[in-house]
């Protein structure tokens, strides 16, 4: 065993010296390789962290949301629905919600107006998301006016900016009092945008949803897990697009690796011949070259992955955020909670390190079985 370890140490020593002898060629390959890992790791780390972030924030969202549909479109929930829901067994709590969208022509951005029962806002005052505060240059104490869809002008005083740790979902949010909301959007009392429900037994959410759909046929129950799945699907789709675009780069790298390995220089071939002539076996030469591939790919993987980690969790993936986050004007600024999934790292490792090792193995084997007597002639 000790002999084997010592032998591997000698092979690594020789490999490092060999890499250093052709440093520019190997450095170039290392950079391209690390760049590829960096891009792939950035995309996967960022998407994964976004999914985690969304799941964390949606953890506190209602288990079930009920929307009313008219001609297949989302419509206001009229009075009376709340009472009918109260008769369904399993519903623990119900709450009518008021929210809507508003297009701000000044910055060409959409805001989400929402009534917050917990904020306890007085009439004429609002709390806004930090991305909106940035774009409109607002701070607590400022006054802002919006023209409603009826043409009337409404002025609000900003009493607070929402904390940045919720920016993923609150970037474009405007919280206001119920009376202000109803006046601004002309929604009569008793009507709601949708109804949030909590269910006593989480195992019964689907049963309650089925009962709701049956009791109120013009309504659509939306489960929290469905919302999570939609978020995940959107992020998967975006990740897929980026990875599809990167496929060309991956292919180019594969060709580069193959070319590098199969195009062993005359100097490298002579070296292999010398090593065999002085007593190295074919297995020793292959082992040495495998160490070379492994050291190169591991270094590239580590460099690329660490760079991607810093890029995603320190610089909020500034290179890919416009594609992966998907906000048009109000980009949320937030630092994602560092989260690394072992399986994800293993997958990335497998898809970057393994193909390189496989691509270089055959050409190396062919070079290693050449007759050592070539160096004598």
């Amino acid at each position: 065993m000790n002999l084997w370890i010592e032998k591997q140490r000698y092979l690594i020593d020789f490999t490092l010296a060999s890499l250093a002898r052709r440093k520019w060629k190997n450095l170039g390959l290392l950079l391209v390789y690390a760049l590829l890992v960096f891009v792939l790791a950035s995309v996967t780390l960022f998407s994964h962290a976004l999914r985690q972030e969304a799941a964390r924030l949606l953890q506190d969202s209602p288990e079930l949301i009920l929307q009313r549909m008219v001609a297949g479109r989302h419509d206001l929930v009229p009075p009376g629905y709340m009472d009918r829901i109260g008769q369904i067994r399993g519903v623990q709590k119900k709450e009518g919600r008021l929210w809507g969208y508003y297009f701000d022509p000044v910055v060409k951005a959409n805001y989400t107006f929402m009534v917050s029962p917990v904020a306890g806002l007085a009439r004429g005052s609002i709390e806004i998301g930090s991305a909106m505060a940035r774009v409109r240059g607002l701070a607590a104490g400022n006054v802002i006016s919006f023209r409603s869809y009826t043409g009337d002008l409404f002025s609000f005083k900003v009493v607070g900016v929402l904390p940045r740790n919720s920016e993923l979902v609150s970037a474009d949010l405007v919280l206001l009092a119920e009376d202000d909301f109803r006046a601004f959007f002309s929604i009569p009392p008793g009507h709601y945008t949708d109804i949030a429900l909590s269910v006593a037994n989480p195992q019964e959410v689907r049963t309650v949803a089925a009962k709701l759909a049956s009791a109120l046929p013009d309504s659509r129950p939306i489960l929290r897990e469905e919302v999570l799945r939609t978020y995940a699907a959107i992020l998967d789709w975006r990740e897929g697009i980026v990875l599809a675009l990167l496929f060309g780069a991956i292919l180019a790298f594969g060709i580069l690796a193959w070319e590098k390995a199969s195009g062993l220089s005359a100097e490298e071939r002579t070296e292999i011949g010398i090593l065999k002539a002085i007593g190295w076996e074919t297995g020793d030469v292959v082992g040495m070259k495998l160490w070379e591939g492994l050291l190169l790919s591991l270094t590239a993987f580590l460099l690329g992955f660490v760079a991607a980690y810093v890029h995603v969790f320190r610089f909020s993936a500034s290179l890919f955020e416009s594609v992966l986050k998907g906000w048009s004007v109000l980009y949320p600024r937030f630092e994602l909670t560092p989260h690394i999934d072992g399986l994800q790292v293993a997958t990335l490792f497998f898809f970057t390190v393994f193909p390189y090792a496989a691509a270089v193995l055959v050409p190396i084997w062919r070079a290693a079985i050449t007759d050592p007597d070539a160096v004598m002639r």
């Binding site: 000790n2 002999l3 084997w4 370890i5 010592e6 032998k7 140490r9 000698y10 092979l11 020789f14 010296a17 250093a20 002898r21 100097e267 002579t270 070296e271 010398i274 090593l275 065999k276 002539a277 002085i278 007593g279 190295w280 076996e281 074919t282 297995g283 020793d284 007759d371 050592p372 007597d373 160096v375 004598m376 002639r377």
Partner: protein, 222 residues
């Protein structure tokens, strides 16, 4: 010690460009003696050296090393014999550029996995004997022709082989350095090693150190 019977060697065997380099060589090389293969270029000296040193296999015929037939052994076993029993000094030295003299000397012992301290100590001692200790950390491409040859000899000796094979050892050296090589040759014989070399340099083949000269031409022993 080494016995060859009816050894023939063809390159590109069975192809249109087939070429026979050796035609039925019968030769007995005695232990602890210096044997020189002498002949013009293309006479088959180097090919014969590669067959004796287990670098190449004969196309026909048998090679026996210490009473054991080695001509049909698989590559792995041949490599083992080559590593343990033979040390090679190539005509163009064939040192690995970018590595120090010391590393080049140690190179044949790497696959053995010998403890580093032991190997290092032995390589240092060999370089000292070859009066090259002061240049041990120099890259081989910075060394003179004579120094490079001494590194090549040191590399040939690192695994303490019984047989040293040298292909045209003085071909790239001037007279002074050739005489220096003869001095090293004398010490190798003094250590009880068997030396087989190829040369057409009169300084070597006419030397009193060489016990036997085998003349060759066109792949045959004259």
């Amino acid at each position: 010690m080494i016995e060859l019977n009816g050894v023939r060697k063809a390159f590109h065997h069975g192809m249109t460009n087939e070429f026979w380099a050796l035609h039925g060589i019968d030769l007995r090389i005695e232990a602890k003696r210096v044997t020189a293969l002498c002949g013009p270029s293309g006479s088959g000296k180097t090919t014969l050296l590669t067959i004796v040193g287990c670098i190449a296999r004969p196309t026909q015929g048998r090679v026996r090393f210490k009473e054991r037939d080695i001509s049909g052994l698989p590559e792995r076993f041949l490599t083992g014999i080559r590593r343990k029993s033979f040390g090679f000094v190539f005509q163009k030295f064939n040192l690995i550029r970018g590595m120090s003299a010391l590393d080049n000397v140690m190179l044949p012992a790497y696959p053995t996995g010998e403890p580093r301290r032991t190997l290092h100590g032995r390589a240092e001692r060999i370089l000292e004997q070859l009066k090259l200790a002061h240049r041990r950390h120099a890259h081989v491409e910075w060394l003179s022709g004579g120094e490079q040859q001494r590194v090549a000899i040191g590399r040939a000796l690192i695994n303490d082989p019984e047989v040293v094979i040298a292909d045209e050892p003085t071909a790239n050296l001037d007279s002074a350095l050739s005489l220096e090589f003869m001095g090293i040759l004398e010490s190798l014989v003094g250590e009880g090693r068997t030396v087989l070399l190829s040369s057409h340099d009169p300084l070597v083949v006419d030397s009193a150190l060489v016990h036997r000269v085998v003349n060759m031409r066109d792949g045959r022993i004259l």
